[in-house]
Symmetry: C2
Subunit: 355 residues, 2 copies
């Protein structure tokens, strides 16, 4: 079958082995596949990326062998493999957490040498993990379940309480997913900051209560309006005199070196910083400043199957702005060009491939 | 009066101005003063230290002017200044959070160019912050209130729940303070790790349930015994199948560069790391590893007046091991030598000065 395959460090469109479903698997036709920031990192330096996965004990990925990316997808069942219950008939559109169990154990769909991701015509999926896509939900929207679930998880991890103010730094797909989850749970005020006017418009469409251009003013200038103490001394004074204290939650959704220290330096004391952006390089911080300000970091990764299912439900019910997130789509042949485009995303949101 | 004063980057014993109490102040004779790791940092590079304080908005400290250290102390009231209630009579032994309000606002006792710390014969203290020392509690023990309160605060911040396992990395005064607070609240199992045999013995005396020499075996090898998943895959599997999950709390009480990343690399996934050690230099971490393992950092600093008071009460009731913490004492003339000794603490715990 045809696929956009990462081979020898290059993304090429060519032939890969057909899918043979194992026990408990279905064969699905890939209908729409999103390109993720992690895919861009992996393609740019696959050896480094595989090393990172290895460093955290994720099953080995050999950069010397073929890998078909694509862990954000909507697909359609075309065949049932052995030992399947066939509850969902052929033709059902489905989403799934990108995990499959093969003979060698659990594999990550999209980062596996064995199971192709959604940038191929067909893929094997684990039947027990499949979720049917509601008829009312378009295929492209359904393919956003995975990236939006990342926001659902981060907001769950944040422990945000009603009325507590939050700031989303970076309004790319990850930041927008956080905004969608925040507003889906009725949180606010939600501030959102991004240098790009397009991304700020997207943040507004997703429901951010205020959008801020950091080139014009620091988002941290806004905290006082929401009762947040700006200095260690101010907060300590409020605590000593028993005044009400409001600490903010900040979602870091940029994922480049320097972001953590810029938040340690600029965020209010006692900020809880939920790190959703995935920074794949070493980073330097000033612990003394974090200590004195009693900053808290919660690093967020992935989602649970329940959060994934909740996200698909939310999409089915309609997530404001989600329809604006996909700014372009390509066929398999256009995939290498899309990766090239996203290296400098400019005003792009999500690009989908339709294999 | 005489003091050990930091002057021109050197700690010298000499004359400083006598204490003149301001509104709401008492004059107190310093009976015992502990030397803290922060004092050692400040003396080693006062300009850098003052810059760190300035960077977090703590009132300016000018390294070009005299500063008398000493923010851990027990003292005795010798006079009441203007606008005081005189509830505690002359002769009362007292402790206090090291804060005083002068004409220029709040100052940190021990890091002020205006108010001398406890490495002087006398000091001004804020009457409303004074706590009387119970008759049954020795003066040297009372001087441990401040460093032990740091542990009380860190344990409060940790959110540790009954039965949740914890590890204290580093059993110097900060780590021992954490152990005292953990055991004071009935927590356990408490593991404690330190390279020094003396410090491991102290950790045992303070009530640690297990002490570990990291040169012999990694403390992280012990987690499986307490039901903690060691790998991302193992924990994800347990979560997916609804098994009980136990995540650990780790107290970082060393405070040197490299500690945070060593914990990111070696700690179990979903560890909550409470950073109590005060690292005064830049530090480098690998955010990707922290993200995938969903590590949490809570940076802890100081204590509230209530936590300070609780600690003094705990000392009055008896904290196991606390009597072993003071390994040496000096007079004012011996203070510069004590600072020199503590630069390579070896088997030393806390050194007290008796001005």
């Amino acid at each position: 079958m045809r696929a956009a395959v990462t081979r020898g460090g290059q993304l090429v469109v060519g032939e890969v082995a057909d899918v043979t479903p194992g026990s408990g698997h279905v064969v699905a036709r890939s209908l729409a596949a999103g390109i993720c920031g992690s895919d861009l990192h992996a393609l740019a330096d696959f050896t480094h990326f595989a090393g990172l996965l290895d460093s955290v004990g994720v099953p080995a990925l050999d950069p010397a062998h073929d890998c078909v990316f694509g862990h954000e997808f909507c697909a359609e069942i075309v065949d049932h493999g052995p030992d399947t219950s066939r509850t969902l008939p052929v033709g059902t559109r489905i989403c799934s957490v990108p995990v499959i169990v093969g003979g060698g154990g659990v594999e990550q769909i999209g980062y596996s040498n064995i199971f192709p991701g959604a940038l191929a015509e067909y893929m094997a999926l684990q039947e027990m993990l499949l979720l049917p896509v509601p008829d009312s939900l378009g295929t492209d929207m359904a393919a956003l379940t995975e990236p939006l679930a990342v926001g659902e998880h981060a907001v769950g991890l944040s422990g945000l309480v009603p009325g507590q103010p939050s700031l989303v730094v970076g309004c790319g797909p990850v930041g927008l997913a956080v905004i969608a989850a925040l507003k889906g749970r009725g949180h606010g005020p939600v501030l959102a900051a991004d240098f790009s006017p397009t991304r700020r418009r997207l943040a507004e469409a997703f429901g951010a209560d205020e959008v801020i251009d950091p080139a014009a003013s620091s988002p941290h200038d806004r905290w006082s309006s929401f009762g947040v103490a700006r200095t260690v001394t101010e907060r300590a004074g409020a605590a000593m005199f028993g005044q009400a204290i409001t600490d903010p939650v900040i979602f870091e959704a940029v994922g480049v070196p320097g972001m953590l220290q810029s938040l340690i330096a600029d965020a209010p004391p006692h900020s809880r910083i939920v790190v959703v952006g995935v920074c794949m390089h070493s980073d330097t911080i000033e612990p003394f400043m974090a200590v004195v300000k009693e900053i808290e970091f919660r690093f967020s990764f992935g989602y649970t199957p329940a959060e994934f299912a909740t996200t698909l439900e939310r999409l089915g019910a309609g997530i404001p702005g989600a329809n604006l997130l996909v700014t372009s789509s390509v066929d398999l042949a256009g995939t290498p060009g899309a990766f090239e485009t996203l290296r400098t995303p400019g005003e792009h949101g999500k690009i989908l491939a339709h294999p």
